[in-house]
């Protein structure tokens, strides 16, 4: 079965520092991969997605992610975080179930920014 693991439940970085959030997936074929962000009390917003092609994907808000098939990873990065980046981040893989497509999410990583 398809699954996603985000090894870090909580990460704290200082404002202006670089960020990397880890994501590992389990999927037999070429995966569809996504990163979403959830601010407190809000729904989820799509940051970026990977379907095929260039393995380095650019997203909104200055985020990027790199697909590494050999490591089954899709880590999210940002060179310099801002206080407004504090949120919950979810990695997801597009999966097929009951003949239809769905997103399977990781457990989420909570990002705290120190001033």
């Amino acid at each position: 079965a398809q699954s996603v693991t985000q090894p870090d439940i909580h990460i704290t970085v200082s404002e202006g520092a670089s960020l990397e959030l880890r994501c590992n997936y389990s999927y037999g074929a070429t995966p569809y991969l996504f990163w979403y962000v959830q601010s407190p009390g809000q729904g989820l917003q799509l940051l970026l997605k990977y379907f095929s092609g260039d393995t380095l994907v650019q997203g909104i808000k200055g985020f990027e992610a790199e697909f590494k098939r050999s490591q089954s990873s899709f880590n999210l990065r940002k060179p310099s975080v801002h206080w407004s980046d504090a949120a919950e981040y979810f990695c997801a893989v597009g999966a097929t179930g009951q003949g239809a497509q769905k997103l399977v999410f990781g457990q989420g990583t909570r990002l705290t920014i120190n001033p």
Binding site: Y36, G43, L44, Q45, L46, G97, Q98, L103, F105
Partner: protein
């Protein structure tokens, strides 16, 4: 203009009651979903509808009954509410091609 809107945003109710959550999308998407986010923030799919037809039902108790009157609306009715139903319920929509979901802002259900 809100793309995916859910009502109500908050719902507090007693055990045993029946309640409904409504969802509407104005994106022209074909597929709509209900996801449940538990207290540990874990998101799990409950149902998926494509053009008013149920296509995914992920071992959800039959106290939960989704209804889709048209492809822009997906409602969730819950009978005989239990304490364990307390969660945030998210509606989402997408094109069938899994182009990424658009989520609503969620309904926080608290059963007391």
């Amino acid at each position: 203009d809100t793309a995916v809107s859910q009502t109500p945003k908050y719902l507090v109710t007693q055990m045993g009651n029946d309640k409904s959550i409504k969802c509407e999308q104005n994106l022209g998407h074909d597929t709509m979903y209900w996801y449940k986010q538990d207290s540990k923030k874990f998101l799990k799919i409950m149902f998926s509808y494509n053009n008013k037809e149920l296509i995914i039902n992920e071992t959800v108790p039959n106290r939960f009954s989704p209804k889709s009157p048209d492809k822009a609306h997906l409602n969730l009715h819950i009978n005989s509410l239990e304490l364990g139903d307390s969660a945030v319920y998210f509606c989402a929509s997408s094109h069938v091609s899994l182009d990424g979901y658009t989520f609503g802002s969620g309904t926080r259900l608290t059963v007391v």
